[in-house]
């Protein structure tokens, strides 16, 4: 057989096999068709479609499915922001309940001054590397290491280091949660935007030990738990913890705290 004939036969054979296989696929596709919620397609079209994964889902498709299933909030896309959330809210209609925006909060007040530096760290300037080597840059074992891993992962540039402690800019934060996952000390948590009162310490040691390593730490005195009238603050071992759902932002615990480790309510609210 000459070359052109072989090429012809090959093309023919492959085409025929392709057509048979394609027909088979069409048939099974019809037979096992799964109806997809129309809204899912619409929501998917509203999302940016760059599959960044900042929402916590595998991609925009997965996010759209989660929104329609009610597992993800309509404003869950940090990239699209408010305009996208509005559109999706329109599609989801009455189904969409109002979901409060959340904001990352660093639970440490141990600045270089409050919790002194142990020594001069010259390794890789990254909290995760330092933590891997078992380092604690400050005297406190639980506190912010101040090397800014969270700063570098934040896609919004919303985190800054102030006196060796990470501080979140409330306006820029989109609650993507990347910093929460990154912090080797587990200091960052997402709390609802309207809740200002929070315990700014993660040290679980007993009072005297905390005092030794940090002047701004929770000493576990339990004074705050006795102040609260709404059952919103409890002791978790030697550390006070606020149940945000119950908290009414009265600020009594913050006023009473001898270590000033509970953040006060929003100043605007105080005046009103």
């Amino acid at each position: 057989m000459s070359a052109p004939v072989i090429i012809l036969i090959t093309t023919l054979v492959i085409t025929v096999i392709g057509i048979i296989v394609g027909a088979g696929l069409v048939f099974t596709g019809k037979k096992f068709h799964v109806p997809v919620d129309e809204r899912e397609t619409e929501v998917r079209e509203c999302l940016p479609g760059n599959n960044c994964g900042a929402c916590g889902y595998a991609g925009c498709d997965a996010m759209a499915a989660a929104i329609v299933a009610g597992e993800a909030p309509v404003n869950g896309c940090p990239v699209g922001g408010a305009p996208v959330a509005e559109k999706i809210g329109g599609i989801m209609g009455a189904d969409a309940e109002f979901v409060e925006r959340k904001i990352a909060f660093v639970r440490c007040k141990g600045t270089c001054e409050a919790s002194g530096l142990q020594g001069n760290y010259v390794g890789i300037q990254d909290c995760r590397s330092a933590a891997l080597a078992g380092m604690n840059l400050k005297n406190c074992d639980y506190g912010c290491m101040g090397l800014g891993s969270c700063v570098s992962v934040c896609p919004q540039g919303a985190i800054k280091l102030v006196d060796g402690v990470a501080v979140v800019n409330r306006k820029l934060c989109v609650a993507c949660g990347l910093c929460v996952k990154t912090c080797p000390k587990g200091l960052i948590e997402l709390i609802p935007e309207s809740k200002f009162v929070a315990v700014q310490c993660m040290n679980r040691d007993k009072g005297p030990q905390v005092k030794k390593v940090c002047s701004a730490g929770c000493i576990g005195c339990t004074l705050c738990t006795r102040q609260c009238e709404h059952d919103a603050i409890h002791m978790d071992g030697n550390l006070a913890r606020i149940t945000y759902e119950n908290c009414t932002q009265c600020g009594k615990c913050a006023n009473k705290c001898p270590a000033h480790v509970i953040t006060p309510p929003c100043p605007a609210k105080k005046e009103a």
Partner: protein
């Protein structure tokens, strides 16, 4: 009959597709997080490899050899395997959404799972099996894959609960576990000469 059983054993244990031939590693490491999901993937792979071996054998001996188009086998096999995986995917999506979700991206990845194509080609090039032998060889290979992935999933579920040093936590420790499993499976290679002798003796 003995010949077919020996072919299954040979492919499942002795030249285990994952632990001995190092094919299909991607899904082996990717889906071995939960025993249930890995067993479902094993089921899907058993289905795909068995059918793919059968179809590949028919296509090769029925169409490609008579037309002297043996050199096209790779493309034809890939075509058939891709279609088969699509069908399995549609079937799972309809019948068992939870398994479909658990397998995630790895289900379409069976298409590019070199184990499937590898065994279809090995059946012809390396072993020269006929149709029925190819089916059993494919089935044995898939059984071997399932054994390996379920074992690794079991090991991983135990390992995850242990206090592992931070630097090897996650992927590294899984690699170590897989490597140790591979060494353990090397023990079966002692049987290979014996089985091959028997295979020759039993004859076609």
């Amino acid at each position: 009959m003995i010949r077919l059983i020996l072919i299954v054993i040979l492919n499942a244990l002795i030249s285990n597709v994952v632990l001995n031939q190092f094919l299909g590693i991607c899904s082996f490491l990717g889906v071995s997080r939960q025993i249930k999901a890995s067993a479902s993937l094993g089921g899907a792979v058993i289905f795909v490899i068995t059918i793919a071996s059968a179809v590949a054998s028919i296509l090769y001996n029925g169409i490609l050899v008579p037309l002297h188009l043996e050199f096209m086998k790779m493309i034809v096999f890939i075509l058939v395997i891709a279609a088969l995986v699509q069908i399995v995917e549609m079937f799972l999506k309809k019948k068992s959404p939870s398994v479909y979700k658990a397998l995630g991206i790895y289900l379409p990845l069976i298409t590019t799972n070199c184990a499937v194509l590898g065994i279809a080609i090995d059946n012809i090039d390396k072993f020269g099996y006929n149709f029925i032998e190819s089916v059993f060889s494919g089935f044995g290979t898939a059984i071997g894959y399932t054994i390996a992935i379920v074992l690794l999933a079991g090991i991983r579920s135990r390992v995850d609960e242990e206090a592992i040093p931070r630097p090897v936590r996650g992927a590294p420790v899984v690699m170590l576990a897989a490597a140790l499993m591979s060494i353990a499976f090397m023990g079966f290679t002692e049987l290979q000469p014996a089985i091959e002798t028997v295979l020759k003796g039993v004859g076609q």
